[in-house]
Assembly symmetry: C2
Homo-oligomer: 201 residues x 2
């Protein structure tokens, strides 16, 4: 009797159609405005059916998060396979990582918990310029007292801030409680590497 199989298949198709409708929503309006009701509307079923296939809204988003990590890992593996030298591999993977993030922005934001109300206007915040100027001036001074005074200070500022923010936010995502004190070693490592490349070059 293939009835059970058909049922499983139909259930799977239903589940897929929910994800498809949800993903269309995410692509159109961002994951922030995804709603169960809109999904139900899109698949032309009532709201509670969605809860037969997903425990809650978060479970649907989690599905995309998994998909995103899968896709990114596949991409990295593919890119890695095009080189034999590990250094070349790391460099190519870095570019692939960057490209993935912007080609699949919605995935990336879900994967790393990005996207907040206040995000869009962070540029306009005057108070941010204070922080920026402190960092930039210090970097300029470091460059001035270095071997290579031609270094692009703005580029280096951006690198400095990115390293810091990357370390912090990766740590915040992974640990819910207090930061691992060992992780300060990573900060030390990354920053001393940055400073070295800044002043010695």
């Amino acid at each position: 009797m293939g009835i059970a199989e058909r049922k499983i298949r139909q259930k799977e198709e239903f589940r897929a159609s929910i994800l498809e409708a949800a993903w269309l929503q995410v692509l159109n309006d961002g994951w922030q405005s995804l709603s169960i009701r809109k999904i139900a509307d899109a698949i032309e079923y009532s709201i509670p059916v969605i809860y037969n296939h997903f425990e809650n809204k978060e479970a649907i988003l989690l599905e995309f998060t998994k998909e995103g990590f899968q896709k990114l890992a596949d991409t990295l593996l593919e890119v890695k396979s095009r080189y034999t030298n590990p250094s070349e591999q790391l460099e190519a993977m870095a570019h692939a990582y960057w490209d993935f993030a912007f080609e699949h922005k919605e995935y990336y934001q879900l994967m790393f918990g990005l996207g907040i109300p206040a995000c869009e206007m962070v540029n306009q915040i005057a108070e941010m310029k204070l922080m920026t100027s402190v960092m930039i001036s210090t970097i300029q001074e470091a460059i001035a007292s270095s071997n290579n005074t031609e270094t692009n200070y703005f580029l280096k500022y951006h690198t400095y801030l990115s390293i810091l923010h990357g370390l912090v936010s990766i740590e915040m995502i992974q640990k819910v409680g207090k930061p691992d004190p060992e992780k300060k070693m990573i900060l030390q490592d990354a920053i001393s590497g940055f400073i070295k490349s800044l002043v010695i070059n």
Copy 2:
């Protein structure tokens, strides 16, 4: 007539009390669960009065974002003033930045748009381990074929990912549309610095 002054003062006090109640909520349950209704409840006024002082909920969060950047800038300035050498300053500022992020977690999350539903369970995602293992294995291979084979690969993996994520998310926060192609230079700069410090040491 001091009436007008008193009114302005009272209005200012009211505004401050809203922010105070809001901040208590944020500290207790995170900025995600801040609600106008709960603020109104805390200050023992009806809901619409809040809209006399803030255009909307986002405006309240923006206030904290500004506060956060102000505090961070102050901290960095103070730390910088303790040193004269720019390299030392950059290093001390980096540590201060890290400390600020975790001592004022709620500020930091608001400032950089962090904190998403799926965040807390990103550890459990099996698919993430694929990405991790690709990166780690490549780094191990790079270390193996380097001068310093004693390098801590896990530390370097964490640094690698943090640099990448930092660059991407800073770019995503600042630009709404497509990424600045010039920013790939920053990626190139940061990554080649990382690889250099990995293989040559």
